[in-house]
Amino acid sequence: MEILWVILFPLCGGIVMALFGKHRLAPELNSAMSLLTLISAGVLTWRVIEHGSFTALDEEFFVDAFNVFLVALTAFVGFTTSLFSRPYMRIEQHHGKLSANMLRLYYSMYQLFCFTMLLALLTNNMGILWVAMEAATLTTVLLVSLYRTPASLEAAWKYFILCGVGIAQALFGTILLYFAAERLLGANGTALLWTHLNQVKGQLEPTVLSLAFVFLLVGYGTKVGLAPLHNWLPDAHAEGPTPVSAVLSGLLLNVALYAVVRSKVLVDGALGTHFAGNLMMGFGLLSVVMAAFFLSRQKDVKRMFAYSSIEHMGLMTFAFGMGGAVATFAALLHMTVHCLTKSAIFFAVGHAAQKSGSQIMEQIRGLIKTSPTVGWGLSLGTLAILGMPPFGVFTSEFLILVTTMHTYPWITPVLLLALGVAFAAIFSRMQVMVFGETTGQRLPHPPALVPTFVHLGLVLMLGVYVPPYLAQWYHQAAALIG
């Protein structure tokens, strides 16, 4: 059973790393485990391409067009990030920022985090989905505070409390969902299985479902980083180690959004109105606008890109909320390209920060001189995330904007305003960091930017050419989500 492998590998990985985390070859081991996960995910994907969606282990797990590409994506980014963190963490250790114990913790928690992500994606049970999301918080919170600096502790605390409280609301939502469902499906275990819920969603009690959706949206929305529930996000991204920021932005937010969308499907089915969609559009729009204006005040580079993640998450939420084949397609595409691009950016940023020994942007200068690869990685990544063609972000944003223009013309100016402000904010800072006279010095270890350029290459490809089967998935998923 491929699904089991996909989940078991990282789980074992967690244990293995907990045991051998101090070993000299621990980084390689870590990457190896991630590679195994990636391979099994690949096999799973291949299987889905062959046979289409299916469920497993008396329906506790299932794969369909929607989550399979997210699984592949998660496994892939998990792998590349582990590759990146190999030299990165070595350098951190070199600088004396981390001890061997901390590294062990890091590796094992990293694997467990991947496990929770994949579990959340693959499970069919809304309850387990919640458990996995909570577990994701628990695994990452210690990574955020890995450096044990006051700032990192504060960030981790906020992360823990805010997400914990938020996710608690999601649990209440789940309970309400169950409350509504058990009257149709009986009190046995099946009442929380998404596939079953999806079949009977038409008859679910509307008032309960709308109530449930509010709790679910506030709960998972906190983890998506929707304004005004986003406050933990910039701190956690800025203070944690860069690989963690990368996976937080790249994976966690995606998975949380996935949970929201799953529940939206049910609620839409029950209500038959555009209630859920409207809520999501509202939150999305608010997040985009607020993030855009936050952006222009940032001094810390990782913090800035955290806000840019909020902005893009808002854009996706908006698109999902808008619904319709094109918008949903665009949102899924945006999920993919944002995940790839943002993690690539964080890779580059990590090395840039190591190079100049600071995350403050005034002190990062002239990267293109000190190490051209980092400089180009950062500049290209930034331009990609800003929606510059020929990168894929441009494609999805183009589709989203055009659809908005077609369905809600009066919203487009707001979106465009926000995008313009964000562009000005991020771009002006990127320019100073990349170009100009230099400050940084050479690094003891060569930067590992292969992942960055692989990601950017993929994003570039998605900009001009979407492979047919991927497009087919997107379309199926879009049909699924509606």
């Binding site: 005004p228 005040r297 904007l401 055009v402 077609h406 100009g436």
Partner: protein, 669 residues
């Protein structure tokens, strides 16, 4: 071979675009500067020539193609019709010279930069060609933004200087904002259930309001690229910052892609335009033209001066388009065709002459390392050939017969003069005023050009440390000679050019001048009837030429021809030096005095007790304070307010979530 023969022009063009991209990659990957400058750039020039030829062949009939790329079930559509063919011809023809020049110009550049520059340069060319060929909104925007991006990197080639980075930032920001506006305009015109191909947009029937909205958005977008007031701010910053061949490309060709987009949307996609668009464009064009030329007159930096003059010329082109729309909507097909022809002709001319001048400034920069007019002068002694080529460009840009600048202005004025009898009476009033303003702008252009050429090439060198200038290299000269020749030919053989443009006019306004033009043979250009107006530049050239030769011969014949070389007399003032000549500021001073009321002049007056008194005054753009600073302030203020929300206390954050939850619950209930 047969397949090659069977290729349509549009296939050739796609091949050329691909070839350019490959060239760029080759340049990036090779670490041999000699290979790049001696192989890659010349090959690029050859490709450009091929593009021009293909465009010439392509005017015959409209061709469509689709590339197997792009969004799923939405491939790239390409389309080659008369309009795009004309602009592709412009692109190819002008970039030949520029590429040849570049192959010489960049030889001194360090290889690390050269490879990237080569890539960006050719991507820039390819993206411009793609913009002109695109037939759906997605591909258009893709190419459009790629164009902006590649040119941004070209502009920031010398990114070590902060002002260059500043210029690049301003440029890309405005380009991006403009692109967003264009995107919205496409969104308005979108076809049934979101089909974004131009073919679908042509079939959509818009209400007059939404059509106007689309038009205005497009005007903002393309205006920001073309440098129409008040969206011109980036232009005088970016052009000086960029390497000269890049300035030539941007000013000569890229601005025209904006003109193309405007024409494409207003005439083609939106179907029939509305008359007040024409008035709007006409007014904007006039303001832009006057503004540009007046500010050009007071500049002290070679390339800034040329940049402002580009703004002026864009204004003139806009005037032509505006007239064309006015005539077209009031049912005067022939006049519309005439005005449109004038606009397109001027676009073509400007590509050549401005390209030539920017390249020339490049050579000057190479020779002297100096861009500031106040430290140049007397280059005609050191660089006679460059001086000759530049003289051609200067005369052309000043709109003097028998060169090309004059022809297009002549056509525009003809369109004005033949205009009476418009339905709207106040339009009738507007027309003479507009004509006057245009005449004024043209005359001022003469002033500007005298200043430019006189200060740079004539007189004595003002530089304190006089660099012994060497004339431009062979390939630079070749490139510039090509463009200069283009100026002369475009000026002396207007009939062929007008006949070449005619299909475009026929396509856009459904009326052709070919009949009138053919009626009097190729020597005389008669856009309307012969007794109305005619112009034979070749005759003019011949008569003046023979006049000069005859007089010279007569003088030689009847005159002893004794000649003494002596120091300049200058009313007998003995010890005069270079600093007694007019500086650039001095030359522009009367204009500044006249128009001081609308440009912000900052003067530094010496105190009467100053032992070494110095006076200098700088001109800056009022519009900057009026239009740009407030926006910046507003956004900063807003973000300051919003920033307050993130104020660190976890309790407040919890409160946010709590309130959100309660509000939503109340909302549900």
């Amino acid at each position: 071979m047969s397949t090659l023969a069977g290729m349509l022009p549009i296939d050739w063009m796609m091949a050329i675009i691909l070839f350019w991209l490959l060239l760029g990659l080759a340049g990036l990957l090779s670490h041999n500067p000699r290979f790049i400058v001696q192989i890659v750039f010349p090959l690029g020039a050859v490709a450009a020539l091929a593009l021009a030829l293909a465009a010439l062949a392509g005017t015959a009939q409209t061709q469509v193609a689709t590339a197997p790329l792009g969004l799923p079930n939405l491939p790239f559509h390409l389309r080659l019709d008369a309009l795009s063919a004309f602009f592709l011809l412009l692109l190819g023809a002008a970039s030949v010279g520029i590429s040849v020049f570049s192959s010489g110009y960049f030889r001194a550049m360090p290889v690390s930069k050269l490879g990237l520059l080569c890539l960006e340069y050719h991507v820039f060319l390819a993206s411009m060609a793609t913009v002109l060929l695109a037939d759906d909104a997605y591909l258009f925007m893709l190419a459009w933004e790629t164009m902006a991006l590649s040119s941004y990197f070209l502009v920031t080639t010398d990114h070590e200087q902060p002002e260059v980075r500043q210029a690049g930032f301003l440029y890309l920001l405005m380009a991006h904002v403009g692109a967003l506006a264009i995107l919205m305009s496409f969104g308005v015109m979108l076809g049934a259930h979101g089909d974004d191909s131009f073919a679908a947009m042509r079939h959509v029937h818009l209400t007059s309001t939404s059509a106007s909205v689309a038009m205005l958005l497009a005007l903002v977008g393309f205006g920001a690229k073309a440098g129409v007031l008040p969206l011109h701010a980036w232009l005088p910053e970016a052009h000086p910052a960029a390497p000269s061949p890049v300035s030539a490309l941007m000013s000569g060709i890229m601005l025209k892609t904006a003109v193309y987009g405007l024409l494409r949307i207003s005439f083609d996609l939106l179907g029939v335009p509305q008359w007040w668009w024409g008035v709007l464009l006409l007014t904007l064009g006039l303001i832009t033209a006057l503004f540009g030329v007046i500010f050009a007159a007071v500049q002290v930096d070679m390339k800034r001066l040329l940049a402002y003059s580009s703004i002026e010329n864009i204004g003139i082109i806009l005037i032509g388009i505006g007239l064309a729309i006015i005539f077209h909507t009031s049912g005067k097909g022939a006049l519309a065709a005439l005005a449109l022809t004038a606009a397109l002709y001027h676009a073509l001319n400007h590509a050549f002459m401005k390209g030539l001048l920017f390249l020339g400034t490049g050579s000057v920069l190479h020779a002297t390392g100096e861009r500031h007019l106040g430290r140049l002068g007397g280059l005609i002694h050191g660089m006679p050939r460059l001086a000759l080529l530049m003289l051609v460009g200067v005369l052309a840009l000043a709109g003097l017969p028998p060169l090309n600048g004059f022809v297009s202005e002549w056509l525009t004025l003809q369109a004005f003069l033949l205009s009476p009898g418009l339905p709207q009476p106040y339009l009738n009033m507007l027309v003479p005023v507009a004509a006057a303003a245009l005449a004024l702008a043209a005359a001022l252009a003469g002033f500007v050009m005298v200043k430019f050429y006189g200060v740079v090439f004539l007189g004595r060198s003002r530089a304190l440390a006089a660099v012994p200038p060497h004339d431009a290299g062979a390939r630079e000269q070749l490139g510039m000679a090509y463009l200069a020749l283009g100026c002369v030919l475009l000026g002396t053989l207007p009939t062929f050019v007008v006949l070449g443009i005619d299909p475009v006019a026929a396509e856009l306004v459904g009326h052709s001048l070919a009949g009138n033009v053919r009626s009097t043979g190729w020597l005389l250009l008669t856009p309307m009837r012969a007794e109305r107006a005619s112009y034979g530049p070749l005759v003019l050239l011949l008569v003046i030429g023979t006049g000069v030769l005859f007089t010279a011969w007569m003088v030689r014949r009847f005159y002893h021809g004794r000649l003494r070389i002596a120091p300049a007399w200058d009313c007998g003032f003995p010890e005069q030096n270079a600093r007694m000549q007019d500086t650039a500021e001095g030359f522009g001073q009367p204009i500044r005095q006249i128009f001081e009321w609308f440009m912000g002049v900052v003067k530094h007056m010496p105190s009467p007790f100053d032992v070494t008194p110095t006076f200098h005054s700088s001109v800056h753009d009022r519009l900057w304070d009026l239009c740009y600073v407030p926006v910046q302030r507003a956004s900063e203020m807003l973000s300051a307010q919003i920033g307050r929300l993130q104020q660190g206390r976890i309790h407040v954050y919890l409160l946010y979530s709590f309130v959100t939850l309660l509000v939503l619950l109340a909302f549900v209930q």
